[in-house]
Symmetry: C2
Subunit: 178 residues, 2 copies
Amino acid sequence: MDVQSVLLGFLMKKSMTGYDLKKAFSISFLFFSGLSYGSIYPALRKMENQGMISKRLEIQDGAPNRKVYTITEAGKRAFLDSLRSPFAFELPKSTFLMRLFFFAHLPPEERRAFARQHLDSIEQLRAQLESARPEVEAHADRFQYLCFQFGLRFYRDMSGYVSELIDTLGVEEIENGE
Amino acid sequence: MDVQSVLLGFLMKKSMTGYDLKKAFSISFLFFSGLSYGSIYPALRKMENQGMISKRLEIQDGAPNRKVYTITEAGKRAFLDSLRSPFAFELPKSTFLMRLFFFAHLPPEERRAFARQHLDSIEQLRAQLESARPEVEAHADRFQYLCFQFGLRFYRDMSGYVSELIDTLGVEEIENGE
DNA sequence: TTGACATATATCATCACGATATATATCGTC
DNA sequence: GACGATATATATCGTGATGATATATGTCAA
């Protein structure tokens, strides 16, 4: 599932502009990483050249003209193919774990401060995600709702890991008489 | 924590070649995403130009010559700075969730097949990680061991999520009389 | 002896990201 | 009414990560 397939997936439902696609993605995957215009517009141009989508120019008064993209039959086939393409589990990457890996180079109080800061950002994102629940319940199909629940659980568990880490860091300092 | 900082982190412990660094990273972060030569060699060249590391050529008989990199005082300062630099939580990205998001376009049996396949790859990675425990226990400091435990928990929880998803998919099919 | 695997370096095309630029409209507020 | 923030909408640019590939040689087992 690359950028192209995701865009096609949204276009399966309705025709949209690049701007609309960015918004749709941000709302649907607010708990996961975003999609920038630097990826969207080049992908749209490429897919148009490949005949997967067609463009309709909507002249607007005052506001910038809209370029509304519609998925073609070839695009639909490409989307379904990519949805069925062999699936490789992707190893996640975590900047926090990279820092933890080198924690020995930091004094104890800085270690704890970092862990607390990390917990704060997780909790903040979790609250943000939780507050989006009504909108998700209103618009998502049952699989999209499952995605949302995945996200919530992920943040809940991450929060748990880091809380325990903070406890561990505290105990080690007491043991060392700090 | 970008590629440069991670490489500096490993070089804090001992001098190494690009090849050694790739191996060290793969072993330490076997549960998280890798680092390719296409990132390592350009980063080493750049850091050498910036005076963060110094190079020593070791002529070898037969085998390719080794370029052994050693961290400089400037490099140590840069590493500690980056370890303390403001920390932004990075949103993870999951190809599996992207597929799940569009599951409505697939027939039920393909949905289940994908979920099972995903569970298999997670379990496989988990087993692989578990089998590395002795080596980790032998070589890692306590923070690096915490990283390892983070990894194990992550895979354990992921496995739980996907197992439940498979159950959910099964129940829905029974409800629909499939 | 043949093929797989380990050592070791390096580059290349592709492409995602984040920042920035350019315009206009709207909406609240001081 | 002026001002600033936010929304609509397109697009490009530099930086840099990824994965594949190229190039050599040595070793070890089938």
